[in-house]
Symmetry: C2
Subunit: 258 residues, 2 copies
């Protein structure tokens, strides 16, 4: 049985193709999300990767912010459930999922693979991927280079404002004072982690803590979060696909129940 | 008796010189605040305006974010008290003061000239002058032209995000869609007013409502706030000086009590 999960997020579209609810046989990602050609492009890419057409999939389930715009899906499910499901598949001991996406942050409490509580911020850019985007632009570096650059930091720089706009001004004045970019970046990683830790504490943090979403690929944020929380934070190379993976797993469940 | 109030804000420094606690005989403003040459420059300007040296003033009182850095002051007082005092001097019937500054918003509840309750936001750029600065930059217009441009709006545009960062993205995509700048600006005025009204309702809004701070010079925001609150909102040409005025009034009180 072949099932597909598609996660149409705000800033990226992701696909996972699963065999028998167990084995990932294909994945694809494109850096544009809902309201763009993102879904179409990610589908084209998954078709190329797997050599299978959408019609050959036994069940397609869509999740994410733009899930309702993807018409080829048999059904839809909330990203919260899909994230919980995907994280549990990768880390059967998970109790806390911290998902930092392009424009939101979610913290899920998981018990036996099911989400029992959550907190979410999608109103404030602080603590989301957008915060890093803004900072990378000001620093004139690539978002994907932030982790590497931050790792060369030798001095602790505090960014006192949580607000993206005020923190941006702080970064600008640090630059004007000649502060090393690597130190500033390390400060930025701690700032976003501090914000996210605040949200996580409202749900309660229990081992294992798993971080998902695009920002989980930034090891600087992961480390800063470990310091803030005092817990090991697990990630996976496929953190960005966790929602799509959960969707593919639910698709399998739905297909089998039919 | 000549007293001076100086308000060293985050983005501007303001001075008022008062005769006998009644008559404004000089005022000066400079567009830079705490931690810069702002205080020095505004003093130079008030000396020119009044023809009086600081030594000739009978009492100097400083207020505002940077009040402790102004060494020529005999004493300091919180901006909340000074704002309340200044607004009461200009509007003896005032019960609510809404002060939108460059980086913060305060709403004060006033009873017989004294502040009895307040709410403040200085953590989030939304709802502050900074929000308008960011939007003006994206729209490539001057902050001082926003009111005039917004008044030409013919169509209601909703800006759904309160967050400055997310609202900025909305404005960019509105521009890309060819939406008229005047309509966008009107939407921006309503957005900031909506945010500020939320804060005001937490204190309670009672007539007369007086708006102070730099943003009160933007008649578009004042009008939008009147709509949001359902109350007439009073302003004065010297809204930016209300804190400095309060400081000069307290200076008079202190001098007389000596
Ligand atoms: S704190 Fe800053 S980033 Fe957060 S909502 Fe306010 S303006 Fe946006």
């Amino acid at each position: 049985i072949i099932t597909m999960g598609i996660d149409v997020g705000s800033t990226a579209s992701k696909c996972i193709v699963l065999k028998d609810g167990k084995e990932i046989i294909g994945k694809a990602l494109t850096d544009v999300g809902a309201g763009t050609s993102g879904p179409e492009r990610v589908v084209r890419s998954i078709v190329e990767t797997t050599g299978m057409q959408l019609e050959e999939m036994d069940y397609i389930l869509a999740t994410g912010y733009g899930r309702n715009s993807f018409e080829q899906a048999q059904s839809q499910m909330s990203e919260l459930s899909c994230h919980a499901r995907g994280a549990y598949f990768l880390f059967p001991e998970v109790h806390t999922v911290i998902d930092i996406g392009g424009q939101d942050v979610k913290v899920l409490q998981i018990e036996n693979g099911a989400m029992i509580n959550f907190q979410m911020n999608d109103k404030c850019a602080a603590g989301t991927g957008r915060f890093l985007d803004v900072m990378a632009r000001v620093l004139e570096v690539k978002v994907s280079d932030l982790a590497m650059l931050g790792s060369h930091s030798t001095k602790k720089i505090g960014i006192s404002s949580t607000c993206t706009v005020f923190a941006e001004s702080e970064v600008i004045s640090q630059l004007a004072q000649g502060t090393d970019k690597c130190d500033i970046i390390n400060g930025i990683h701690h700032s976003i982690s501090h914000r996210v830790a605040g949200l996580a504490h409202r749900v309660g943090v229990r081992d294992q803590v798993v971080m998902t979403g695009g920002v989980a690929q930034n090891s600087g944020v992961v480390q800063a979060l470990e310091e803030e929380l005092g817990h090991k934070v697990y990630t996976s190379p496929i953190t960005q696909y966790v929602g799509a993976l959960g969707a593919a797993l639910f698709a399998y469940q739905k297909r089998v129940k039919k």
